[in-house]
Point group: C2
Chain length 680, copies 2
Amino acid sequence: MKPPHPGKACASGEARSAGLAGPPPVRVVIEGVEPEIDGGRFPAKRIAGDAMVVEADIFADGHDQLSAALLYRHQGEPEWREVRMEPLGNDRWRASFEVTRLGRYEYTIEAWIDRFATWREALEKKLAAGYDVESELLEGALLIEQAAQRAAGADAAWLRERALVLRGSAPQAARAELALRPDLAACMDRYPDRSGAARYDRILRVDVDRERARFGAWYEMFPRSCAAEPGRHGTLRDCEARLRYVASMGFDVLYLPPIHPIGTTHRKGKNNAPVCGPGDPGSPWAIGSVEGGHTAVHPELGTLEDFDRLVAKARELGIEIALDLAFQCSPDHPYVREHPEWFRWRADGSVQYAENPPKKYEDIYPLHFECENWPALWEELKRVVLFWIGHGVKIFRVDNPHTKPFAFWEWLLAEVRSQYPDVLFLAEAFTRPKVMKHLAKRGFSQSYTYFTWRNTKAELIEYFTELTRSESRWYLRPNLFANTPDILHEYLQSGGRPAFQARLVLAATLAGSYGIYGPPFELCETEAIPGTEEYAHSEKYEIRFWDLDRPGNLRDFIARVNQIRRENPALRFDERLRFYPVDNDQLLFYGKSTPDLDNIVLVVVNLDPHHPQSGWVEVPLDEIGLDPHQPYQVHDLLGDARYLWHGSRNYVALDPRTAPAHIFRVRRRIRTERDFDYFL
Amino acid sequence: MKPPHPGKACASGEARSAGLAGPPPVRVVIEGVEPEIDGGRFPAKRIAGDAMVVEADIFADGHDQLSAALLYRHQGEPEWREVRMEPLGNDRWRASFEVTRLGRYEYTIEAWIDRFATWREALEKKLAAGYDVESELLEGALLIEQAAQRAAGADAAWLRERALVLRGSAPQAARAELALRPDLAACMDRYPDRSGAARYDRILRVDVDRERARFGAWYEMFPRSCAAEPGRHGTLRDCEARLRYVASMGFDVLYLPPIHPIGTTHRKGKNNAPVCGPGDPGSPWAIGSVEGGHTAVHPELGTLEDFDRLVAKARELGIEIALDLAFQCSPDHPYVREHPEWFRWRADGSVQYAENPPKKYEDIYPLHFECENWPALWEELKRVVLFWIGHGVKIFRVDNPHTKPFAFWEWLLAEVRSQYPDVLFLAEAFTRPKVMKHLAKRGFSQSYTYFTWRNTKAELIEYFTELTRSESRWYLRPNLFANTPDILHEYLQSGGRPAFQARLVLAATLAGSYGIYGPPFELCETEAIPGTEEYAHSEKYEIRFWDLDRPGNLRDFIARVNQIRRENPALRFDERLRFYPVDNDQLLFYGKSTPDLDNIVLVVVNLDPHHPQSGWVEVPLDEIGLDPHQPYQVHDLLGDARYLWHGSRNYVALDPRTAPAHIFRVRRRIRTERDFDYFL
């Protein structure tokens, strides 16, 4: 339904202080709109198919009845569509629309005094009080006649007829009865007088992504370590061969660290040694050599054709390839020669390398995003992204975005997404909370989080309550990496296999998006540089050969968890994560459900990797729609055991040597006619 | 200090999507500014002499050092003044300025990358790591030379000298030492490069009132009931005689219901009877008769000259007269005849009277604020306000502002306060929470609250936590009326004298502004129309004669409480109200303090008017700066008893028959040289 009178009136009825003239100021106030990020400066985020729920405080002086509409359109559409808002009580109103297309939608709110509803309510009260309502009926007739002028076709005539009756000489009671008929109210509601409507003074925005933006299991892997036999530099062809392995574990995204030529100048040696030894391959993040830069493939990995094959083969297996965007250069990068103006030149004539004194990263030159010819640099970096999109890449993991200007990302992401709204960007910003959030506001589809450093029950509850309940839930989508090439947390180092299992379950069920860095993860690799969370013999600086069949590996376990994720849509709804009580500080109990409660998942994780733990959980029967007087089944999808539970308090025990977690699907009892019970 | 480079850059560094050109976008982000009401749409409120504390999140990409300044000016001043902001950690910054003048101030924030501080920090780290810093010194010299160009007078030369040394041939260590000297950092900080500074994209506002806006004891009284002997219509001269009585109780504001001529058409009788009897005086809110309207004095009360005398005499006694602004008319008001277009005319040719079916208020015609000639009506109502200001009235209690357009109030209050910034308006809006808050946003200096209906411990804690800790504390100043001519709460009806005492202490100490409607309050009048909270024989409809010396009256008690209020500035700081634990649900324990903790008041109130109650309070020693190992004195200012307390847990007992509350002033132990203790 289109608004008959697109609101002309100003926002919240501000009176002109310089002289009073024209129509009287708007009386209706619209405020407290949600979602609205920083006064509308940034868009919210949603997934295609989502209901976009919008709420606002809407009220006016006095006691008049109000009506309100949520106006929305895909950006660029000339006309607003609209849906009426419903009052929730306490002057709060709500409506929603389905976001069906990718890209940007706009929305705002219009509200007006509903003179007919106001009149109708007063008429009802006066009739109840036994008043003479002759004047009321005449005033109602006028309102109906005015609506008839706004109405089209048959409605106009139908309304005029009713106005005539109200003005007529039939008994007052009969005319009043007609005036109060629901069909009249419904027709009047189609032609409201919106000439004095309040229009919210901001047009708000929501960016709509495909499902993968909120739900996906990521696997990170170094292609050069993928050779089928030790002692050889892995290639993209080896990666291709490894795809079945990755697919067998149920991953959706395969993320590769940079695949570009690696510089030789100041190349780092094994374990980040300042000088490399013969044959050391260098860090893939020291991008660029005589063989090319950000759009080239490292010759030892293969060719661009090999990459295209990898992308195509992965797609066949339901896997998307994600590339790393690390906008920095080795001293040998072609940019250094061709565009010296894109770097910072020191007073001593050298180029500024990356440093954090006393640490020096002489193998890496940062780009100078504020250089004089910054537009050329920015355009070139956009070209890099478009180049890889041209080769089938739709997901980018962005390295250290917090060390490049926010405005650059906002521009780049908007430019790319205006052409390719299905492209996703994951921000690898391990930095201060407000900076992380701000990058998400500027447009990143997903964000790395502090998850790896949140290991106790209190830490997890506090952090995930913030992520899923605070305002940041409108724009920041967490992607939980259980480990990365940079982070092997002490909890994993000391907890061994049960710790890896617990962290996998947490990552895979606390958020729709999660990832591991393999094979070290599924092989439960715990060897770190002592006293640090750095992997020993890190793949960042050397080629590793991994025995994928190492005893105790988690391949089957991970496959099971990823299957559970795919089969239970509840796990896609991060905003619906809730923590529930359990009387043991080593047990974490939480749940997620689909909005319609069709799929309910409850998870219990034993955070103690060394000892069995048990306790009484409190199931939120009310919240998940369970009858307190009926038994229900919790089906442990991990172990495939089924338990019959009654009421809210139930007992759980988890031994880390066998299973550090339950992932329960809640099944309601269905009683058949023949008194045969089953659980759905 | 004036900013050398008033920020030209755009707000938060939004990149232009349509082509990249010009200087690179601003890198610094300013967000999360507090106070900021509805994105800056409404001003905050402060009292002259207050520190206006402003906070914001300020950060940039990367690791550069930042500087920030809070810019402020009284509205109309051409130049910003500024004060540097200090980092609080977690990217939060704070600064404050003193608001000294009444009226409106503006403020905003500018922040920039502090290149010298960034350079200096890196230099320090590199020296500590033993690097060669030759290039760093040359780069520092350049920064200093650039600052010298921005510098004035001696500073410029002084800076150039230092740059020369840095470029010179002295040993590197000596030059580095000079480069790091604090005097150089201080001088550089006076001439920052703010060419790429971020300016917050909103100019925020704060309205500054005089002290009475947040601190004052109000006394409401019907002049016509002030006659010295029964059976006579009281006059303004009688009021004058009553002033000493009001002053003796320590009140600051004497608020009079409307003093204008009262209409006779449809005049209400005693106890709101639809028809009046002979001699019934009518409701003072049915304003206007042949004797005049809103700028006239009811002849039976006296003359305008009498009113002027009353204002002057009150002023001598330290009392301000507050008038009622009830923008509505009796059918006999001159406006009805002279400006029929200012009213709503019904289809049957009658004027719309006030009604809430089945209730009819035929003695009152609402004004039609949206009538065709609304500007003339609005201007006339402004004239009414200015008229009374001309007669010395600086405080108005506004009757039912929520039934008139918000825009009207915003316009009227702004118009009046632009001429008379010392004029205050109290909103009598007993309506829905968001409407109450919105009226405060639009400019009301103070607001009636739900206080009369918050009587249990849980209700009081919840409501006052909301009033003093939520965002509304920036703009809504509560004025707690313990009773009004419309509200004699059941708690008072059934609780008798101890209930009146408890509610008085609560009102007088929970908020800086409070009021009572007397003499019924101090006489502990409990007679209500059964089953309602309406006074029986309400003064709204008849003249009452009150025996001020009635036994059990609270005159001395009120005088004591008001004296305590005047002597303890802690009670002026509503935002510093905190509730503390006490293990008895009938005891409420809370405190207030001055920002410097010079004055600390702790209050315990027994909410049970019928039984003695006792319990253990927990004094927040840390919060109020008490040494847990030292005794301290709590001096009950109500009963003048002194108790020596130790540690946080202490015992209190309150018998409603003697004293339903303690108002403790906390006195610290001072140990003299001769080991003689006293308490300050």
